[in-house]
Symmetry: C2
Subunit: 450 residues, 2 copies
């Protein structure tokens, strides 16, 4: 018998029908001989409704009380889910984050997990119950106050519990069939990925893919917890995120019965993709992100310490930056330009911070551009395969997409283009690397809220 | 500086406006130099909405998970209330029943408080915060599960906290101005009672008055916590429920600044009631109840042990009964009739239990009547004032209201009449005892949900 942690997002439990559908799925996993721990988000729009109420009574939506408010959402969904499971004839108990042992720091609204002590959960499943745990919430170690984990919190709860309970797999149920080679809303022929490494998934997540958040994948990699991202609607085999392809999981086989078989089925359905595994070994997918802006610091003296002064000013303003690019300086002037990207929402702060430091840095001017898109190609072994970069740039060139910035890592190439070009750019790159599926897949694609 | 516990019902915090209004009232109490602990119910219809959701996913609305579900309602209202207070510039912290130290037994949906350990609440108010506590909920001593206290739970939470914190007063805010000499919907000239003893209040509560529930008054009497029932809408002085009239509270004066003055104001507004205090010493009010039915066991052998057999059968069926009346037997037959009243909702169970025991009891037949009303006159010193009973029956007689059953206690006379006669009966009795106010008062009258 294995132990499975399943996580269901808000769209999967949006109403009573959704809760009953999810309850059946959970009971199935239990009937297959597993111990089952379920992490659940708040129902559909509950959180937004609570935020609206908060806005009506207070101008401030932060802190201890805001966390207390928001955690009511999961309390409702988890209790209803437990009741729905019981009405199917199986025993279920629901637990708050605090009861489940999710110990966090005291940073309200964005708490970090510092320990997981799932004694009550272990006892509950050992007694034959299905344990339902509220996602997104914990209790602070110092003050014993209720905390929330911020964005991606429920996924992180699930992975953290899976690690602490030494689960065989953490199944993340969402409203899409898995992780795709590109955003299916943009690329009609995007293919579902059967398996992806933690590292590639991390790059995809930080390059704009919204199915799994970076934080949750990072946690899973640290504790080597295989994640299975799949749809709570279709019941199809989804995407495995793990250190090795599922074939390597035979040791975990008990906990994920049928996983291998289902994976084979999934593959056989994707007809005409005989070379998928080979390709996949190199390219996982194409991600894009239109949420960023570009700042260029023009005319920076090309001498040691200049970049440090710039990015200290940015850091002091608590602005998170993404890509940083500096080209060689023009020999004639001794001046260089430094560009970086950052969330559009932080643009104003960054510009203000730089303007304040203009004297210390000594640049000529600032340029701010929020009409950009970032397109990233992610895949292991990219660096040792020089054709990849060339093919990438050629595809963009043929589509007449201009490249404004380039940045590469071990397993990723990112370029910045005009925002208007993003759909075209993602399409041509996806095709150029043979990622296109032969059939158009009709899928609903959306991010998970928490 | 005194310590005040305030409780606000669901109708007082039905929406964002209500929450902001209540927040201002709380801040006022704090500004008057008090330490303030607030117990709050779920917003307006929240609980009903949660129950509807539960019905959609499960046929069973009981047990551990149902408690987990329902307690989300208070979590929302208390967090919003704390946020609203903070936005007025005062510090507030909200606490679940568990965090506030409300320790209960494990009887889900109707838990009894077995201990209150309000250490965190005391610390919070000592640090200058206003502490907001979720009403209606606790945590079970044995299993550490979330429990709810059942009907009247939030009032009981407030009184229990007031007792544990040694508060000066427990203010119960509701949507009526206080406890009235009769239901103002029935008796237009019903008067607000300025002060009533615990004992009289207990009799009123068990005779149909819905402003305070029996359980909460009982708790207050045991720990001698003065209750002040008042409206969260009008801000007027309400009704004091305590062991002695407020004049006797001078020792508590610090905690209830202005109480005496306000009480005097309240009285001066009730013009033309110069003899109120004297009358009040005898008669507190008239209560009525149309929620009961009457069962008559006809032709019971008049010998020892018969009543015991009947009421053991009723008790074994877990039916709560109210009045019990047995008259002398007819000498010719040696048979008697025994009547009792009980909630209409339990009528079927009681009849079934008696029919099953017909052989053992040996009665002739059963009569069931759910078209009855109970009218009760409550007041201290009634028994030593023989005119009271006579006046009561004369008033009913003049109004041609037939009396079907009579039952009396030290401070109460109750009669059962036809349900159709109830309004008329309450009116005439109210007038007969000089309880009528000179002016018609326009008040909204309603029970508190929890």
């Amino acid at each position: 018998m294995g132990l499975v942690v399943q996580k269901y997002g808000g769209s999967s439990v949006a109403d009573a029908e959704g809760i009953k559908r999810v309850a059946k799925r959970i009971v199935e996993a239990k009937k297959n001989g597993n111990q089952v721990v379920v992490v659940v988000s708040a129902m559909g729009d509950t959180t937004d409704e609570l935020i609206d109420l908060a806005k009506e009574v207070s101008p401030v939506q932060t802190g201890r009380e805001f966390d207390m408010l928001l955690t009511a959402g999961e309390r409702i969904s988890m209790a209803l889910l437990a009741m729905a499971i019981k009405s199917l004839g199986h025993e279920a108990q629901s637990f708050t984050g605090s009861q489940a042992g999710l110990i966090t720091d005291s940073a309200h609204n964005k708490a970090r997990i510092i320990d997981v002590t799932p004694g009550r959960i272990q006892t509950s499943v050992d007694e034959g119950n299905i344990a339902i745990v509220a996602g997104f919430q914990g209790v602070s170690q110092d003050s014993k106050d209720i905390t929330t984990l911020g964005r991606g919190g429920s996924d992180t709860t699930a992975v953290a519990l899976a690690a602490a309970l030494e689960a065989d797999v953490c199944e993340i149920y969402t409203d899409v069939d898995g992780v795709f080679t590109a955003d299916p809303r943009v690329v009609k022929k995007a293919r579902k990925i059967d398996w992806i490494s933690f590292e590639d998934m991390l790059e995809l997540a930080s390059s704009g893919s919204k199915v799994l958040l970076h934080r949750c994948v990072e946690y899973a990699r640290r504790y080597n917890i295989p994640i299975h991202v799949r749809s709570s609607f279709s019941g199809l085999e989804g995407t495995w995120v793990s250190s090795e392809p599922p074939g390597g999981y035979e040791g975990h086989g008990e906990g994920t019965p049928g996983a291998q078989a289902a994976l084979k089925n999934g593959r056989s359905e994707d007809s005409g993709q005989g070379d998928q595994s080979m390709e996949q070994a190199i390219i996982s997918g194409v991600a894009h992100d239109t949420s960023e802006a570009k700042v260029t610091v023009v005319g920076v003296p090309d001498k040691p310490g200049e970049a440090a002064v710039i990015f200290r000013a940015i850091a002091d303003a608590e602005v998170n930056i993404d890509m940083v690019v500096q080209n060689v300086s023009a020999a004639s002037t001794g001046l260089t330009d430094i560009s970086f990207t950052l969330p559009k929402s932080e643009g104003r702060k960054a510009i203000a911070a730089l303007e304040k430091s203009q004297g210390a840095i000594g640049f000529d001017s600032l340029r701010y551009d929020d009409q950009i898109a970032k397109i990233s190609l992610v895949g292991a072994g990219m660096k040792t395969n020089p054709g990849v970069t060339a093919t990438f740039f050629e595809a963009l060139s043929e589509a007449k997409v201009n490249i404004e910035l380039i940045s590469t890592s071990e397993i990723r190439i990112s370029v910045v283009t005009r925002e208007d070009d993003v759909n075209e750019a993602v399409q041509v790159v996806h095709s150029a690397f043979g990622l296109d599926s032969e059939s158009d897949e009709a899928v609903v694609y959306g991010g998970t809220g928490r």
